[in-house]
Amino acid sequence: MKNKKDIGRLFQEKFKDFEEIPDELVWNAIEEKLRKKEEKKRVIPLWWKLSGVAALFIIGILLYQNSTATKITNEEEKIVFENDKNSTNDILIPEEKEENNNKNEEKIVFENENASGNKENITKKSNRSNWKTDKNAAVVSTKNNKSKISNESFSNSIREKNTFINNKNSSFIRNSKEKIASQNTNQSEKSTINLNTENKLIFDLDKSITEKKTITNENKIDSTKTETSLAEVKVEPNALEELLSEKEKKPKVEPKLNKWEITTAIAPVYLGSSSNGSPIDSQFANNSKEYENTMSYGVGINYSLNKKFTVRTGVNKVNLSYLTNNVEFYPEIGTSRIQNIKYGGQGVFINIQNILLEPRVNLNASQFGSIQQMMSYYEVPFEVSYRLLNKRFGINLIGGVSSFVLDDNKIMVVSDDFSALVGEANNLNKLHFSTNFGIGFRYSFFKSFQANFEPTFKYQLNAFSHNNGGFRPYFIGLYSGISYRF
């Protein structure tokens, strides 16, 4: 029998339990793609982990460098001795204490001429130490687990060599003192400190020491590690003495261990514009502008990334001011308001006009003079400096950006015997930026102090939010000041 049925219902009924099993090849294709994705996912986290570990390692080294550099001042606290009976003459060799001794450890004290020069200083500072001296011994502490030193740590240590060679003496002393301190505290700690200090001491000796050479040195020392007595043991004195003499021949490099520097800077500021125009009103576009000399003062803080590069920031207060000449102004509540001025105070009653404009009105009451626009900012620069010359007298290139926060903003009219506040500019950005380029000259006159003179050109990018009238300001500051390294 034929039934009349809504076609929709027909299909619904027919397809109600419709299911069909797909071909196997569909799953095969899915599985293959799933496996490929798994592979990818495994590889990526591995990379992240590796780079994360590498980053931590590098950070750790940098921090270690930093912290060790500043430890010099805390020498006395660091030295912890249990039996302070013995009087001291000079330092350099830690006296082995039996109860704290790792019997398998051997210590050899290394010393050179420079160290001896400082010996007196050191003596004074740590009278309570139990150090003995021995001129021709070398300190390279060894440990049982020397084998833990991997090539990786060696190559990283090589990179650190600059800081340590340049400040060999202090680091040497610090290293040794750390050893003493650690000896008396914790055996396990000792191993790590010694491990690191070993590396550093070795590279202390000479830049030119190759990896191989030091490893062989260490290995040789290692082989004699059953000794317990200190100091008098001379291991490879020839090789070490060789290094000693090489070291002495090298010119003394200015220590760059101090990475931080604070500076003060005062600068006369010369404002200018790369094109004529007026951000006050277009009628003044072609009026002559007179840029007034103003000042900037501030402080800065610099951090040396390495011998060549330093990053710098700080805070400055900078005042800018210029005149727009050949204007006349008169008291009148004029209908011609200047767009870019937000009138305030008496400003409402002052009408300003370019002298050269027609028609001229109210000749009797008008005064001839200038419009003075004043802007002051708090500036935060972010700059990088590149060291070109690095002696007592240094030269560097400086580049970067600054951000400016608007503080004071005034527009005034001035004439020979009269001045009045008109209002403020409404087209100045509260925050704007500049690109900076400069050359720095510095002279080290005393220890960690330097005198700086850094003429810098700062091109203002977006000082005006609108209607800058073709006025593109820049300023050159002759930043001079004193800086202190620490």
Partner: protein
Amino acid sequence: MGLDQLIQECKKGNIRAQEQLYKLFSAKLFSVCLKYSRSYEEAQDNLQEGFLLIFEKILQFNFKGSFEGWIKRIIINFILQKYRSQKVFEIVTENFPETVEIEIEDDDISMDFLLKIIQELPDKYRLVFNLYILDGYSHAEIAEMLEINIGTSKSNLARAKMILKEKIEKKASNEFNEAK
């Protein structure tokens, strides 16, 4: 392993669990693909890509609501967005009947044939027909899913029905003639 546990394992990317899940739902989802695609081959491709998408999105499943409904929706949306780029503008002017009736012997019509003529429909008609008739969406919902307006949805449905009716009747009369 219960379904929830199976889903958890799939979230972790366990391929064995994923295979199990596939075996559980592939027949149902393949039938969906067959209805919405233009051909058997295209349905296979859509099933494959659809499942890969499901295994990616399974992380977002919060065990709220029906899992089967959720994965079915994923597949349907996947197929729809493939066709969405095709702009078929319909100007709805004509009146169309709400119900299209057909005289039919129930046993005359085979599933294969019905499936075939559905697949032969122009895309927009086929999608609307499936969504409305076979999967129970409203015209408002369809309008949103296909980014067309409700009137278009209604007219597409009507046209789909007309075409299907013609084809069925044609086949029936052919068979009738052959039988003679």
